[in-house]
């Protein structure tokens, strides 16, 4: 008499069950965010790019010269979101903005929690509002707020 056949079973997780390294440039920026610091990188023309790029956008030269920067900056252009979408990180009206971090030349995009559209203007000064817990993600910057 043969025993009843054993049914083979194994738990299965649908998803990417691996981790990736973000590399020497992106990784350095994200790791600095975890420590509540912002770093930029010098482009071929010496201009400071934030967030840092691995290769120069014009010359394609590999970049490596990092620059420590403050967590304050200036709004270069902005757009007011009256009706935040479900995926957006802020659940009340906010601004998207290109923010030139002080000491840098190439602006970065992030959110500004200004409360009201009338508080927004091109050229206004802003500073980082850090997330309560930082993890090495771009969202470690919860948003910027008027400085």
């Amino acid at each position: 008499m043969s025993a009843q056949a054993e049914v083979l079973q194994q738990a299965f997780t649908l998803g990417f069950t691996y981790t990736r390294t973000t590399g020497l440039v992106v990784g350095r920026f994200l790791t600095a965010l975890r420590d509540r610091k912002i770093v930029g990188i010098k482009g071929s023309d010496g201009k400071v790019i934030v967030p840092p790029m691995e290769y120069d956008p014009v010359t394609a030269e590999a970049l490596s010269e990092f620059v420590d920067l403050p967590d304050t900056g200036v709004v270069k252009t902005w757009a007011w979101v009256k009706h935040p979408r479900g995926k957006h990180h802020l659940d009340k009206p906010f601004a998207w903005a290109q923010i030139q971090i002080d000491g840098s030349d190439i602006p970065m995009i992030h959110m500004v929690d200004a409360g009201d559209e009338s508080k927004m203007s091109t050229g206004m000064k802003v500073k980082v509002r850090w997330a309560e817990e930082t993890k090495g993600f771009i969202t470690d910057i919860a948003c910027f707020e008027p400085a």
């Binding site: 790019i49 790029m53 757009a79 007011w80 995926k87 903005a97 030139q100 969202t139």
Partner: protein, 352 residues
């Protein structure tokens, strides 16, 4: 470079929601009609087939493969796909013909955008570490660009409204358009902002639909005995993925593509420009070097109906059909891809 003939082009209506019709059911009618126009039985009768679509719209990897069901691909055909607007499928087919591997090609593009939240779906086109996690949507990035334009004094809100008014007016003669009618710039400027500085009408609508085209060498087109327009030049260029490294108020990639495609080699009667947002038409008109004697977007353009992954090929098809119908002699068509005009393709078409 061998001259290439655009022989046939068909586009579906732009509809807000195609309902229960799936992608294959959107593609089949335009493919059937575009082949019938040339007198071809099926995709077996061309040397190469290429499509443009976005798997993210369907929400599944390799979703584009389902589109092949619309072709009758048994026995097997030579087929390819670009995860881009079908204007870039045309570009691939042009390379195929130029390199002597094909004499004719069928192209199609399709997009059923209605099931998802399109601007959020397209946020995932952005770089995966700095921008995609923020869910920067396509309307927001265009609004940042519009503000930069307004701040620089290059445009006014009235000029943006005038682009929309003209689009709606021109679309009245386009049976496939979704938004059409007579509306004045004053009326439009009275509307509230939607995503400031953009008003709702500054943004293209979300549409479902498809388009298809048949191209061939001029020799093959003559054998078919069908009228055709000639593709004299085509080129595409891309700008940095880092928004801050770009001057959003200009389109250097369009300028470079226009130069390489030979836009300035003769007068341009009409231009079909893929500008999903009103201010972008103004940027692109300048980048293409077009003057006031060129008729811009006689179809109404994509502000009147925007088929994701098909609208770019449709711009080229619109110009081709107007040349074939004798409405004009020389035209330029433009397609764009990505956020805030990141990548641009320019094609120059002439009569046979």
């Amino acid at each position: 470079m061998r001259d290439i003939a655009i022989v046939s082009f068909v586009q579906s209506d732009c509809v807000r929601d195609a309902g229960a019709r799936n992608e294959v059911e959107l593609i089949m009618p335009v493919v059937r009609k575009v082949l019938d126009n040339v007198g071809l039985e099926s995709a077996q009768n061309v040397d190469f087939t290429c499509s443009g679509s976005c798997d993210y719209l369907q929400g599944a990897a390799f979703a584009f493969v389902l589109g092949v069901d619309a072709l009758g691909a048994v026995p097997p055909i030579k087929e390819s796909h670009v995860e881009m607007d079908a204007a870039w499928a045309l570009y691939e087919a042009v390379l195929k013909i130029q390199s002597g591997q094909a004499e004719s090609a069928l192209l199609y593009g399709f997009g059923k955008s209605s099931p998802g939240e399109l601007p959020i779906v397209l946020s995932q086109q952005l770089d995966p570490y700095y921008l995609a996690p923020l869910w920067l949507d396509t309307v927001s990035s265009a609004a940042l660009q519009a503000r930069a334009m307004l701040d620089s004094g290059e445009i006014t809100e009235r000029e943006m409204a005038e682009v929309v008014a003209r689009s709606r007016k021109n679309a009245k003669s386009n049976p496939h358009a979704q938004l059409k009618g007579d509306v004045s710039a004053d009326e439009l400027l009275n509307e509230p902002t939607y995503l400031s500085p953009l008003r709702k009408h500054d943004c293209c609508p979300v549409s479902d639909g498809a388009c298809a085209m048949v191209i061939a060498t001029v020799e093959q087109a003559k054998k078919w005995g069908k009228p055709y327009a000639v593709l004299k030049g085509i080129d595409h260029r891309i700008e940095s993925a880092h928004f801050g490294a770009r001057d959003l108020t200009k389109s250097p990639s369009t300028e470079a593509a226009a130069k390489a495609a030979g836009v300035a080699n003769g007068p341009i009667d009409i231009a079909e420009i893929y500008a999903p947002f009103s201010h972008q038409e103004i940027i692109l008109k300048k980048a293409l070097g077009l003057g006031d004697d060129t008729v811009i977007n006689p179809s109404g353009g994509v502000l009147a109906g925007n088929l994701m992954m098909a609208s770019g090929l449709s711009r080229i098809g619109e110009v081709a059909m107007r040349i074939i119908n004798g409405e004009c002699k020389r035209g330029v068509a433009h397609a764009t891809s990505g956020h805030a005009l990141q990548q641009n393709l320019v094609a120059v078409l002439e009569g046979a």
